[in-house]
């Protein structure tokens, strides 16, 4: 396990805060309502702990899986509880007549939310590294957390065993919604991040 100092974790947390701020602005514009986003914590951990942090036993959730390309490449997974996903769909109002998780349009709207959140965090990381990252088309998952979280995390960790977890809280229409974003970097991206963190050690 690659150890990082409290100070380096602060830097990752700060990057996450920038991502959360940008995501909130873009989500407000997309949904036409005030959206805020906070970041209770960030953690760099190994696969097993990553699975535990993201999983919610016996609960059904929604996952948006997006591969990142560019120099900050890797796999990402954004998760919401089913209730949170439905609340987000409600916030779209008249824009979205059918708010069922089975509707193609509702799924597409949630994938766009995933694009925005993941893209905002990826941009914050890539700007910190002075390099590039962009999202590829998302995959929509609606299943028990136990059925998809670990398989996505493990398949994303082909090159390193490390997972960067951002614990986020979305505030939509006055309600706080739990959401997690996991980034499983490629070896190249992981080394880029670690080198930069080493270089910024005070």
């Amino acid at each position: 396990m690659q150890k990082i100092s409290a100070e380096q974790l602060d830097i990752l947390n700060e990057i996450g805060n920038i991502g959360a701020g940008n995501a909130a602005t873009a989500l407000s514009q997309l949904m036409g309502t005030m959206v805020d986003m906070s970041l209770p914590w960030t953690k760099l951990c190994l696969i097993e702990e990553g699975c535990e942090l993201l999983s919610r036993p016996e609960a059904v959730g929604v996952g948006i899986q997006i591969a990142l390309e560019g120099q900050v490449s890797g796999m990402t997974l954004l998760t919401f509880s089913e209730e949170s996903a439905l609340h987000i769909l409600e916030a779209f109002g008249d824009m979205l007549p059918d708010k069922s998780l089975l509707s193609e349009m509702a799924r597409s709207a949630l994938m766009e939310v995933g694009n925005i959140v993941t893209g905002s965090f990826a941009t914050a990381i890539s700007e910190f590294l002075h390099t590039t990252a962009w999202c590829t088309p998302p995959l929509f998952i609606h299943d028990f957390f136990d059925a998809f979280v670990c398989s996505v995390v493990v398949s994303g960790c082909q090159e390193t065993d490390h997972v960067l977890v951002f614990k986020t809280e979305l505030f939509v229409g006055g309600k706080a919604l739990q959401s997690d974003l996991a980034f499983m970097p490629t070896k190249e991206a992981f080394h880029l991040i670690m080198r930069k963190l080493e270089a910024t050690r005070g």
Binding site: M105, S108, A122
Partner: protein, 120 residues
């Protein structure tokens, strides 16, 4: 009659939103495409006045689709729809012949301005 527009995006929700903005602004959305390959086929079939083109799509991406459409019709008017982190792709699309770009999530005024300018 409003100018005819082909909306290309792999996300059904974004096609719906963009079509809604354009229709309300007086344009006529004559077709949708969910990837670059379908966009090229529909361009040839529908001959729109203008295309809004997403960048990241499965099958064929928006940049390749711009190149194919420009090969078929060098006068084609295309506005790119980009997401965060895609500045370098926007540049490549502009070099391939796209006229302008709009950034997601869409701001209605900016969409109308870019499309109007590209049609001028």
């Amino acid at each position: 009659m409003g100018k005819k527009i082909l909306v290309v995006d792999d996300a059904a929700f974004m096609r719906m939103m963009l079509s809604d903005h354009l229709t309300k602004a007086g344009f006529e959305v004559i077709g949708h495409a969910e990837n670059g390959a379908v966009a090229v086929t529909k361009y040839k079939e529908l001959r729109p006045d203008m295309v809004t083109m997403d960048i990241t799509m499965p099958e064929m991406d928006g940049i390749q689709a711009v190149k194919e459409i420009k090969k078929f019709d060098p006068t084609a008017r295309i506005v790119m729809c980009s997401a965060m982190g895609q500045q370098h792709m926007v540049m490549e699309a502009i070099q391939a012949g796209a006229r302008d770009f709009i950034v997601k999530p869409f701001d209605v005024a900016r969409v109308v301005q870019a499309v109007t300018k590209a049609l001028a």
